[in-house]
Symmetry: C2
């Protein structure tokens, strides 16, 4: 019995995964090169390349020119997190989204903020505080600093109807950014907004985005106790 040819890159990917999982190719093993695999599978080398490249991107394979392709010794799991607009996140759960702007003011930010955003320490920035609701229950508190030197249009936006979360994505594209997840104890203000006890463990997301060398916005999203961020591996 001869095997049928694997016609598409997904089939090749699945077969390679199967062999690794069946321990036919063990962690650390060198697997055949693209040309040989293409011959075995009866497809073009580009097809094998696409399959192996995809597996390497997920961390299952290590590939190096000349050295060849090896099964990763300790596959670093890569989880892809989708960070949607909060409104979509809530609506995606089948809940009704609500939004309340709590504050919009001009202030000189703490040194930590101006430092990380690389703005002059004494310059005022636009500061926002808002509450996102799901089915009329608090879903997240948003605390945000906006660099109006980078996004001048934000100066004229009241953010009463639309959250900065949503407005910025449509009006201020960014080139790159950082995101950090952590846990923090609720202070009095947060406890009041999120209807929880002072000191309760809150899930916190900090995000800082850049337009090339200019900072766009720094935001902290604070979620009530019990909130989970989930994704597939």
């Amino acid at each position: 019995m001869t095997k049928p040819a694997l016609r598409d890159w997904q089939s090749v990917r699945d077969e390679v995964r199967r062999r690794i999982h069946a321990r036919q190719w063990k962690p650390g093993d060198l697997i055949p090169n693209e040309t040989d695999l293409a011959a075995e599978f009866g497809c073009a080398r580009a097809t094998v390349n696409r399959a192996l490249r995809t597996l390497a991107e997920t961390g299952l394979l290590d590939r190096r020119r000349k050295a060849g392709t090896r099964v990763a010794l300790q596959p670093v799991a890569k989880a892809t997190l989708d960070i949607p607009v909060i409104r979509h996140e809530v609506e995606g759960r089948g809940q009704t989204y609500g939004y309340q702007r709590l504050a919009r003011d001009w202030a000189v930010p703490p040194a930590q903020v101006s430092g990380s955003m690389r703005t002059p320490a004494s310059r005022q920035m636009l500061h926002l505080c808002a509450l996102h609701l799901a089915d009329d229950l608090p879903y997240a508190v948003e605390q945000r600093w906006i660099n109006t030197a980078t996004v001048p249009a934000a100066e004229r936006e009241p953010f009463l109807q639309i959250s900065a979360n949503e407005w910025l994505l449509a009006h201020a594209p960014y080139t790159h950014g950082d995101i950090a997840f952590s846990a923090a104890a609720a202070d009095e203000a947060e406890a009041a907004l999120l209807s929880c006890a002072v000191g309760a463990a809150l899930f916190v997301v900090d995000r800082l985005t850049w337009d090339n060398a200019a900072s766009v916005t720094k935001v902290r999203l604070i979620f009530p106790p019990g909130h989970q961020l989930r994704t597939a591996l």
Copy 2:
């Protein structure tokens, strides 16, 4: 002045990103099809395809057959998290890694565990508790259930020298899994292990992995106050 041809897919990707960012192509706009872009850039359609496909994977473009390619209205940020072996995570920070096995026993897991792992509710499972250290300070507590029906070799492993975290990756490949991040208040045992106050806000990672339809392991990693999980956007 005519533009030089864009020779590789990275250049095409960068040019498309530049046009979107310069608002030459605005959110919601339909951009030219692959054939036209290939003609304009002086490269093959496959090159344009690779560039646009990559941008679509990061959420910047929406592509649909026949409907064409549009600039995403609200680019869903995709953050790729690397979840390495804890030892590598610690060593990557330039710290010295340490490991202590605290417990290894057989027990009937709580219903929530056997339920999510789809194992018989009354069957005993291998249960582990361990402490990971960085420069002799507590880095994370690991609480783990192992389905020995799926990974029988784990029955003979004491996990004294090597953490289950590391052993399983090398000995029990998984096909898929779920991961969840949250915040939790420290109970007395956790507070003692992590040298923090009872009730302190801890960062928690829950992970459940599968070998096809069979669960492999369910693990909870608990990090001390202040711990951050960071990544680029």
